[in-house]
Subunit: 99 residues, 2 copies
């Protein structure tokens, strides 16, 4: 396998509604149609198996590092981050790595 993977988790602020969380997912799910550099974008709500987890995860696969950076900096992605994620964000954790 080759490629480049971006993984990011979010923990939402106290008082975040289910609707706000669904909106983040829905907006991110629109991005593959808008940003051709995205290979796949897997989105998941924490399954509730373990205590202390983050709430939501994004696993993105890209051809290479440059394709990831194009996604990271794309205006459509930045708009989701600024308008939907940041307003409800408590904590964020991320790693990018070569596959």
């Amino acid at each position: 396998m080759s490629g480049f993977r971006h993984v990011v988790m979010f923990a939402w602020a106290e008082g975040t509604t289910t609707g706000q969380q669904e909106e983040v997912r829905a907006r991110l799910a629109e991005l593959p149609a808008l940003i051709p550099e995205i290979g796949t974008l897997s989105l998941g709500f924490d399954a509730g198996v373990n205590d202390g987890n983050y709430d939501f995860v994004v696993v993105g696969e890209f051809a290479d590092r440059d394709a990831y950076v194009a996604y990271r900096d794309h205006p459509a992605h930045r708009a989701v981050v600024d308008d939907y994620i940041k307003p409800i964000l408590d904590r964020r954790a991320s790693v990018q790595y070569e596959l």
Copy 2:
């Protein structure tokens, strides 16, 4: 796609050596041969593209939630966590989700 994905990131404590980090990766890489419930286990050191990232990520794929729990609780996995991860751990972030 169906299945169950486990994602966990680690940030290592100040002073952790490259050797210690390589040892964690090597020990985790042995687990698929020991724990039949593991589908795939992808291991990655942060690529250094962004500041503020965690250091290391594990993305595990399992047939279902029960298979993940079998991995989580397997003595061979617990031994890696206790003997190699916890001694150098600063912060941990995780999510499990249905694919």
